[in-house]
C-alpha cells in the first residue's frame, strides 16, 4: 500500500474531492497546512515592525491506497488539481506497510 500525500490549493478542494469520488476514492484525511514551493513570499507589517510571511495556506490530503490503485489516484489528483499556475501543489508517494481498521481490527498489508 501507499500513502499519497498531496498538497493543494484549498479552493480547488471541492472540485478535487468530486473527481476522486467519481473514481471511487471515498476515504481520505485532510489537514490545513501552510507551505511554500516556488511562490514568492510576502512581507507582513505588525505595528511598525516587519515580518515575512511566505507561507500560504494549503490543504493537505492523505489517502492510503492499494498499490494497484496508485496510478489512477495520482493521475486523478494531478488532473483535477492542475490550473497551470504556480502553487498548484505537489504529490508525494510514501510506502505503507500495514493498515488496520480499528472498528473490526482487520489488517491489510
Amino acid at each position: 500500500m501507499k500513502l499519497v500525500k498531496a498538497i493543494l490549493k484549498p479552493e480547488r478542494f471541492e472540485f478535487i474531492k468530486k473527481a476522486l469520488e467519481d473514481k471511487g476514492f471515498k476515504s481520505m484525511t485532510v489537514s490545513e497546512v501552510r507551505g511554500r514551493g516556488e511562490q514568492k513570499g510576502i512581507s507582513l507589517e505588525y505595528r511598525g515592525g516587519l515580518m515575512t510571511v511566505d507561507m500560504l495556506p494549503k490543504l493537505q490530503i492523505e489517502i492510503v491506497v492499494r498499490d494497484s490503485d496508485l496510478d489512477t489516484l495520482v493521475s486523478t489528483i494531478t488532473e483535477s488539481a492542475r490550473t497551470g499556475k504556480f502553487g498548484d501543489g505537489k504529490i508525494f508517494v510514501i510506502p505503507v506497510e500495514k493498515s488496520i481498521r480499528i472498528r473490526t481490527g482487520e489488517t491489510e498489508i
Binding site: E11, R12, E14, F15, I42, S43, L44, E45, Y46, L56
Partner: protein, 401 residues
C-alpha cells in the same frame, strides 16, 4: 427653545449606540467573508467611520443640512462646523446643535460601511479611500439633504423617520452598482466560499440590533412617547423578520441557520427604519414578517442570477429599505405621529413614498455606477488576481488572522 437635559441625555446615548453600528457592520461582514479577508472587511467599515467623521465635520454636514439650494443640496453655512454650537439648532429645538450634527454624523458613517458589501474581498484599499470620500459627498450628502435637510423630497411630502431611504436604499443600491462594475470574485459560483467565522457575524448582528435602538428611537430627537414607540416598533419588526426568514428558509428545504436568523433580523431593522415613528407595534410585526421572507427571496434570486453582490446589502438594505419606504406609506397611523397611510385611506402619502423611494433608487444606483466606472478606469477599483488570491488581509494590510 431651551435645551432639555433628558432629551440631550438620550441623544448623547443614541449617538454612542449608533456609533457602535459601524464596527458592527464590519464584524457582521467580516465573519461572512473568507478567512483571508476577515481583517480587511472589518477595517473597511472602521475606516469608513473615521473618514466620514472628518468629511462630515469639515463640509458634509453643511452640504446635507445647510440652507437649501434649489431643493438639491445644502449651502456652506456650516463649513467646518461654523455656526453649529452648544445651543439648540435649526433642526433640534431641545438639544444642542452640535449634538444633532454628531447624531447625523454616525448615520453617514454607517451608510458608508454598508456599501462595502458590493466589492467585498476584491477592492483595492487605496481606491476605496478615494471612492468613499467621493461617494459620501455626492451620493449620501445630497440624499440626506433631500429628506431631512429641507430638500425636494421633504417638500414633496415623502416621510422617512430614521433613514430608510437615505441610509438603506442608498447604500443597498450603491452596493449593487458596485458589484456590477467590479465583477465577480474569482471562483464565485465555482469554489465554495466558507464564511470565516460565524460567531463574529452573530456578534456583529447583535451590535447592530443594539445600536439600532439609538438609530430609530433617537430619531425622535427627544426622550418622549414617540421615542418609546420607535423603540418598540424597531424591536418588534426585527424579531418578526428574524423568525420569518428562519422559518421561510427552513420550509424552503434548508435548515434554520443562524446566519438566516440574523440576516432576517437586519432585514427587519432596515424595513422598520422609515416607519418606526409612524406605525404601531402590530404594524411592525407585519412589516418585519414580510421583510424577512421578501429579502430571503430576493437573495435567492440574486444568487440565481449569479450577481456577486457578495454580502447582500442590496437584498437586505436596498430591497428591505424599499419595502420599508412603501410600508410606511401603507401602515402609518395618524394616532402615532400625525401621518396616515393607505390603510387609513391616504393614497397621497403612498404615492409620495413611491416617488421618494423610486428617485432614491435611481439616483443612488446611477451615480454610484458612474463613479465606480470612473474610478475603475482611472486608478482601478480591483486588486490584482494575485492579491485577491492571497487575500486582502495580507496584500492590503500586511496582516493575517
Amino acid at each position: 427653545m431651551a435645551i432639555d437635559s433628558g432629551a440631550t441625555a438620550w441623544i448623547l446615548a443614541s449617538t454612542a449606540l449608533v456609533m457602535i453600528m459601524t464596527p458592527g457592520v464590519g464584524l457582521f461582514y467580516g465573519g461572512l467573508v473568507r478567512r483571508k479577508n476577515f481583517i480587511n472587511m472589518i477595517t473597511l467599515s472602521f475606516v469608513a467611520f473615521a473618514l466620514v467623521s472628518i468629511q462630515w465635520v469639515l463640509f458634509g454636514y453643511s452640504l446635507a443640512f445647510g440652507a437649501d439650494v434649489g431643493g438639491l443640496i445644502g449651502n456652506l453655512e456650516y463649513l467646518g462646523l461654523n455656526n453649529v454650537g452648544m445651543d439648540p439648532g435649526a433642526y433640534s429645538p431641545v438639544i444642542p446643535g452640535l449634538l444633532y450634527m454628531v447624531f447625523q454624523l454616525v448615520f453617514a458613517t454607517v451608510t458608508m460601511a454598508i456599501v462595502t458589501s458590493g466589492f467585498a474581498e476584491r477592492i483595492k484599499f487605496s481606491s476605496y479611500l478615494v471612492f468613499a470620500l467621493i461617494w459620501t459627498t455626492i451620493v449620501y450628502d445630497p440624499m440626506a439633504h433631500w429628506v431631512w435637510g429641507g430638500g425636494w423630497a421633504s417638500q414633496f411630502g415623502a416621510i422617512d423617520f430614521a433613514g430608510g431611504t437615505v441610509v438603506h436604499i442608498s447604500s443597498g443600491f450603491a452596493a449593487l452598482a458596485l458589484a456590477l462594475v467590479i465583477g465577480k470574485r474569482v471562483g464565485y459560483g465555482k469554489y465554495s466560499m466558507e464564511p470565516a467565522n460565524i460567531p463574529w457575524s452573530i456578534l456583529g448582528a447583535a451590535l447592530l440590533w443594539f445600536g439600532w435602538f439609538g438609530f430609530n428611537s433617537g430619531s425622535a430627537v427627544d426622550a418622549n412617547g414617540l421615542a418609546a414607540v420607535a423603540f418598540v416598533t424597531t424591536n418588534t419588526a426585527a424579531a418578526a423578520a428574524a423568525i420569518s426568514w428562519m422559518l421561510v428558509s427552513w420550509a424552503h428545504g434548508g435548515k434554520p441557520s443562524s446566519l438566516g436568523f440574523v440576516s432576517g433580523a437586519v432585514a427587519g431593522l432596515v424595513a422598520i427604519t422609515p416607519g418606526a415613528g409612524f406605525v404601531t407595534p402590530m404594524g411592525a410585526i407585519i412589516i418585519g414578517a414580510v421583510a424577512g421572507a421578501l429579502c430571503y427571496g430576493i437573495m435567492l434570486w440574486r444568487q440565481g442570477k449569479e450577481i456577486d453582490e457578495s454580502l447582500d446589502a442590496w437584498a437586505i438594505h436596498g430591497m428591505g429599505g424599499l419595502w420599508g419606504a412603501l410600508a410606511t406609506g401603507i401602515f402609518s397611523m395618524a394616532a402615532i405621529n400625525g401621518k396616515s397611510g393607505l390603510i387609513e385611506g391616504n393614497v397621497t402619502q403612498f404615492i409620495a413614498q413611491v416617488v421618494g423611494a423610486g428617485s432614491a433608487v435611481i439616483y443612488a444606483f446611477v451615480v454610484t455606477y458612474v463613479l465606480a466606472v470612473v474610478i475603475d478606469k482611472t486608478i482601478g477599483l480591483r486588486v490584482t488576481e494575485e492579491e485577491e488570491y492571497v487575500g486582502l488581509d495580507i496584500s492590503q494590510h500586511g496582516e493575517r488572522c
